[in-house]
């Protein structure tokens, strides 16, 4: 089977050279090491069997590219620093069209440039994993952490009717696990997958357990390898006849429905007895966790609902939660993006408040606690309006 077997040798966790601390640790499995999120995600990709990485320098994800620049050649795998994010994502398209396991990474402005090829890859069903280490926007914005690319990631980025799975880690350890999961999802469904991190997750150092996973290779019957002994294959998004494109789009929509049905993920903390809950992902969830602890010390029964897949969005679990709490507080490093999906999910059952900071600013637990207190006062026990004062 040649279609999925890249010519570059595939490494296993135990063969990395001793020069790389992570790989060294990997040999003596489950050592805890202090790593930057960017570096940890990069090494997780290598250990997940990533055959090729293409990138372009941009803060705050540059360490990811630098890690790959050193490690990928050590493993005999492909690394190219492209001329632009356009170049990088299209190199990814080419490599992935041959069945290779491919990673690209960037930060917000660079992701905008990649939107074109993301649409092509969604249309031509090419699996690739894209890490966005989000920074403040719009425009050149700031290099501070942000979650203001939620709309871009979840609502489609490029043109056309398509969705891609979006995974949102809240710790470096989780980010490492999600890298392997992302490759698996990408290959299972022939789709780009986005890992939506932020500047803090990329830049912060945490002790991480070096647990790696290499997803099994899928036998692709579509990948390009040269038409030796079989009819030629074409990887394309063009279907010029409207009738044909509609058939293709129906196929894509059925796939998206299957993903939405099977791949939703979320996590909950202290939700069992909660009568208020925070909804937050990524770094905002870290802040929220501290706020939840303080709120509970202050006597408020608050829990944390954390979406792990932003698309498919855990609407069902949120709707269920909305049936047993008095109110929800959405916390984001944005002016309020995911909050729209939360409101859609709960369909007005409970008040949905929002607290966020933008531009690279991060809300403090104290700010979130204040927002919780405000929600506590306004949410109240539901009152019957029938027959009420006019």
């Amino acid at each position: 089977m040649t279609a999925t077997m890249p010519a570059a040798p595939r490494a296993t966790g135990g063969t990395a050279p001793a020069t790389a601390p992570a790989a060294h640790a990997a040999r003596h499995r489950v050592q805890r090491v202090l790593m930057k999120g960017n570096e940890a995600m990069a090494e997780a990709a290598i250990q997940a069997g990533c055959d090729a990485y293409f990138g372009y320098p941009i803060t705050p994800q540059a360490e990811l590219l630098e890690w790959m620049a050193k490690r990928m050649p050590e493993e005999g795998r492909a690394f190219v620093q492209a001329e632009s994010e356009l170049g990088a994502i299209n190199m990814a398209l080419g490599a992935a069209a041959t069945g290779a396991r491919v990673l690209v990474s960037s930060s917000s402005p660079g992701i905008s440039l990649m939107a074109e090829a993301m649409s092509y890859m969604a249309g031509s069903e090419v699996p690739v994993v894209l890490i966005n280490v989000m920074r403040g926007g719009p425009g050149l914005g700031s290099i501070g952490p942000s979650q203001s690319d939620y709309f871009q990631a979840v609502k489609g980025h490029g043109h056309g009717d398509y969705r891609v799975p979006v995974l949102a880690p809240a710790s470096i350890t989780e980010a490492m696990a999600l890298v392997a999961d992302a490759f698996e999802l990408a290959e299972r469904y022939r789709t780009p997958v986005i890992i939506l991190a932020d500047g803090i997750l990329g830049q912060a150092m945490e002790p991480v357990e070096l647990r790696f996973r290499t997803p099994e290779r899928v036998d692709f019957d579509w990948a390009l390898s040269g038409a030796d002994g079989r009819p030629p294959r074409v990887v394309r998004s063009l279907h010029l006849k409207p009738e044909d494109l509609e058939v293709h789009n129906r196929h894509l929509q059925a796939k998206f429905a299957a993903i939405a049905g099977r791949e939703v993920r979320s996590a909950g903390e202290h939700l069992e007895d909660a009568d208020l809950a925070i909804v937050a992902y990524g770094t905002a969830a870290r802040v929220a966790r501290t706020a939840v602890a303080r709120a509970r010390e202050a006597g408020l029964r608050v829990g944390l609902f954390r979406p792990i897949t932003l698309w498919p969005f855990p609407s069902g679990a949120l709707a269920e939660l909305a049936g047993r709490v008095r109110g929800l507080l959405v916390v984001e490093l944005s002016a309020g993006q995911m909050v729209e999906d939360v409101r859609l999910a709960v369909e007005g059952r409970v008040p949905v408040a929002f607290d966020g900071r933008t531009g690279g600013m991060v809300p403090t637990p104290g700010e979130v606690l204040a927002a919780l207190r405000a929600l506590d006062e306004t949410a109240g026990p539901r009152r019957a309006v029938e027959g009420g004062a006019r």
Partner: protein, 280 residues
């Protein structure tokens, strides 16, 4: 589809095995059909049909995969050299071919072609230059000649207003990663023969892992130019006085003058910069 040859007869002209027996979407008189045929002939003669991964552009030739029977991936507009780079880096044994028009390569894809060439990617770039955007209805391209009318230069291209035509292949040829750069034409049979020889040379250099090669082929666009096919061929002769056919550089064959951009220490016939890419 093969035709039975009667006893005593000999086939002197047939359809190349890799050229699909199908009516193309190209306009009557368009040169793309000729270039497709040349590509199919060269790939077939070198036995590359089973190991080629080709990249189709956006433009009239987006349908190349319908007519040339090899594996194809369709690139976004202008990005074929980046897509080809990605293939090259994970498939060292594949034959990688990109096929682009002049709007695709010389306008929106300028960065991608320049940097693939600068890296010396071991790929073969086919560049069909008909001086116009054909698929969208005949707009001005970077390659459109001064004075040439198009739907977006209705009064004719003016240097002061639209800038000058871009000689892409000469520009690329100064890069040390480019092992071979040549310009052919579909204007007449001898020119078509030379164009095929350039394509074959470029392909052989890729097989020898010598680096990036580009073959520009001047072509006609009767509909976009607003001419009969015959008049467009006459016009193509004038085009060839501006974009002169011939080998622009062949660094594998003979020492060329050191290009301005190359380090002085690097001999012109040294391993091209792209050589390390091979085998990755």
């Amino acid at each position: 589809m093969s035709v039975a040859i009667p006893p005593g007869a000999r086939l002197i002209f047939g359809r190349p095995e890799l050229l699909v027996d199908r009516t193309t979407s190209y306009c009557p008189g368009c040169g793309h059909g000729v270039v497709h045929r040349l590509v199919a002939e060269v790939l077939g003669e070198l036995g590359l049909g089973g190991k080629t991964i080709a990249v189709a552009p956006v433009g009239c030739a987006v349908f190349a995969y319908e007519y040339i029977a090899v594996d194809f991936v369709e690139a976004p507009h202008g990005r074929a050299p980046a897509v080809g780079t990605g293939i090259r880096r994970v498939r060292p044994d594949a034959f990688v071919l990109t096929y682009q028009g002049d709007g695709d390569l010389a306008a929106i894809g300028t960065a991608e072609i320049v940097h693939a060439a600068a890296r010396g990617e071991n790929i073969t770039a086919v560049f069909v230059n008909n001086g116009i955007y054909g698929m969208t209805g005949g707009q001005m391209a970077p390659t459109t000649l001064i004075g040439q009318r198009s739907t977006s230069s209705p009064g004719g291209r003016e240097a002061g207003l639209h800038g000058y035509p871009v000689p892409m292949t000469e520009m690329l040829a100064i890069l040390p990663g480019v092992v071979f750069a040549a310009r052919g034409s579909v204007v007449d049979a001898p020119s078509i023969g030379r164009a095929k020889a350039y394509l074959r040379r470029a392909a052989e250099l890729q097989l020898a892992r010598k680096g990036f090669a580009i073959v520009e082929i001047l072509s006609n666009c009767p509909v976009g130019w607003g001419m009969t096919p015959q008049a467009s061929i006459e016009r193509l002769k004038e085009v060839a006085t501006v974009y002169k056919p011939g080998v622009i550089v062949d660094r594998a064959k003979e020492p060329a003058p050191a290009p301005a951009a190359a380090p002085a220490a690097a001999p012109a016939d040294a391993e091209p910069a792209g050589e390390p890419a091979a085998g990755r």
